[in-house]
């Protein structure tokens, strides 16, 4: 017996959630396994589609962020001549997690809109489209960690014990915050198509407001609190501390995690209120 939608009942007004199902014939563990398959298949699709019929294929997942880092390196180290030690390592340690976030949020405009035919016809929990999209970028980011390691070794730095806790913890925090923002954008874009333009402008602005290209210490003392107000600042500084100093700050992690949970809750609330109208809007 296939899983998925079982017996359902829908009423006007009181509003069903697409995930909330009537009497379920399959126990929830099987349903979880099914959702696992759903995510796997959707992520695999994104992965295959992204570099399909490109000459370099998967190598792009490493080359693309590296090329970006190269541009900023030339700009700040060679032209502006920023006085910073290990600037190349500093740059990629912050830039890679940032790109994971920015790529996901920008792409999220199309997570729902781009699957319009599916939304119109098939009933499945739609937020999995967002989960898969974000996971895809997160996987690309994890794939670039060996590059960071390589640069560390070149500069004579070694992995620390803090990585054992730090990498999984920060990956989860990064995922939560990125997922929350992506779900917000993906849902809103169905109602306001301007979201796409706004997101591009906003993430660009956000990028320069976040200490990615420069250290936190360069921000004037009286604005330094922003590391707690801007979850991306907390995340980027955390990742960089982990890679450059081998330290893991629970306070910054808690800040990022807390923001991630808040954004996820807000996004999930918005999504579950509006999801039954998706099929009418796309």
């Amino acid at each position: 017996m296939p899983l998925g939608c079982q017996a359902t009942r829908q009423r006007g007004r009181c509003g069903p959630c697409l995930e909330r199902r009537g009497p379920m014939r399959v126990e929830s563990r099987k349903l979880l396994a099914y959702y696992g398959d759903l995510v796997r298949v959707l992520v695999a699709k994104e992965f295959k589609v992204r570099y399909k019929s490109t000459f370099l294929g998967y190598a792009w997942s490493i080359l693309h962020p590296l090329a970006f880092a190269g541009v900023f390196f030339i700009l700040f180290k060679i032209i502006v001549r920023l006085e910073m030690k290990h600037y190349a390592l500093f740059l990629i340690a912050g830039l890679f997690p940032w790109q994971c976030f920015q790529n996901s949020v920008n792409a999220s405009n199309n997570f729902f809109l781009g699957n319009n035919t599916l939304l119109k016809k098939v009933r499945f929990p739609r937020f999995f489209l967002v989960v898969a999209g974000v996971l895809n970028d997160l996987l690309h980011f994890v794939a670039t960690i060996p590059i960071v390691l390589l640069f560390m070794l070149i500069y004579g730095k070694y992995p620390s014990l803090a990585w054992i806790v730090g990498i999984p913890a920060l990956t989860i925090a990064l995922f939560l915050f990125t997922y929350g923002m992506s779900l917000l954008v993906a849902t809103t874009n169905l109602f306001f198509r301007d979201m796409e333009r706004l997101t591009f402008l906003f993430t660009m602005l956000w990028f320069y407001m976040t200490p990615v290209l420069f250290p936190l210490e360069m921000i004037p003392e009286r604005f330094r609190w922003m590391v707690y107000a801007n979850p991306m600042a907390a995340l980027i500084v955390s990742w960089r501390n982990l890679f450059l100093e081998g330290t893991f700050s629970p306070v910054l992690f808690a800040t990022a995690l807390g923001w991630g949970l808040v954004v996820c809750l807000v996004a999930q609330k918005l999504y579950s209120n509006l999801q039954w109208r998706f099929a009418e809007l796309v």
Partner: protein, 250 residues
């Protein structure tokens, strides 16, 4: 367990013409008062108007009517992607919507990858899809094309693939929305045979088509919709005849 698969009780579906969705943020803010008023007093279109009917388990219901009569809305409500404005829709069982051309397929992926993607989206687990893979490929008659990306397929080939996946889900309720039109005569025949087979196995079907001959052939009962109202629900021969006489070609 009751023997009713689909129940519509006094179902009305109204689409709102969006104050929200049309103009974007700028217009929304510039004309905020009008928009706020519009939110409460929006023009709307009634796609279905107080429709009630039941489909028994194992029954095949044909749905006919002119364009815009509410056929696809009916299927959307059964599939559970739309919510009724008023009334209730009850369904009992696994639903497989037979997707319109290429919906849910990705043009860059091979036929094989698309079978996996579509099968899981429609409710199968990965293992179930893999077990049925050979049968699905055989049914689709796509041969070596199965390893090529969908974008090189003809529309008939895409339809074959979609139908092949949908019929291998073993659904309790199969929704068919005007998809057989693009297949060649031979494959259409094969699909209809398969649907008759389904019917003898007790699968419930809701079948939207403009091919009245097809509808007469496989339906147990036929519902005739006109402008969102259920005009007639009865034996295929009479209902189709009624439609031919009064509505066809308007």
């Amino acid at each position: 367990m009751s023997d009713i698969a689909v129940t519509f009780r006094d179902v009305t579906k109204q689409y709102r013409f969006g104050a929200v969705s049309s103009g974007g943020v700028k217009n929304f803010l510039l004309h905020l008062p009008t928009h706020l008023k519009g939110m409460f007093n929006r023009s709307s279109f009634r796609a279905l108007d107080s429709v009630s009917f039941e489909v028994k388990k194992g029954e095949c219901l044909g749905v006919i009517g002119n364009n815009g009569s509410g056929k696809s809305t009916t299927l959307g409500l059964i599939a559970g992607v739309l919510r009724p404005t008023r009334g209730t829709v009850d369904t009992d069982g696994q639903i497989a919507p037979l997707l319109e051309l290429g919906a849910g397929f990705h043009p860059e992926l091979s036929g094989r990858d698309n079978i996996i993607l579509n099968g899981v989206l429609l409710g199968m687990t990965l293992r179930q899809v893999r077990e049925k893979m050979d049968d699905i490929i055989a049914f689709s008659e796509l041969g070596e094309f199965i390893e090529h990306p969908i974008r090189v397929y003809s529309s008939g080939m895409v339809m074959r693939l979609g139908f092949a996946v949908a019929v291998h889900i073993d659904p309790d309720i199969l929704l068919v929305d005007e998809v057989l039109a693009v297949g060649d005569r031979e494959f259409q025949e094969k699909c209809l045979k398969r649907m008759e087979e389904f019917r003898s196995h007790g699968v419930t079907m809701v079948f939207v088509s403009h091919d009245l001959g097809e509808v007469e052939r496989i339906s147990d009962r036929v519902a005739l919709l006109n402008k969102g109202c259920l005009v007639e629900l009865g034996a295929p021969g009479e209902t189709v005849e009624h439609y031919r006489r009064h509505f066809h070609g308007i």
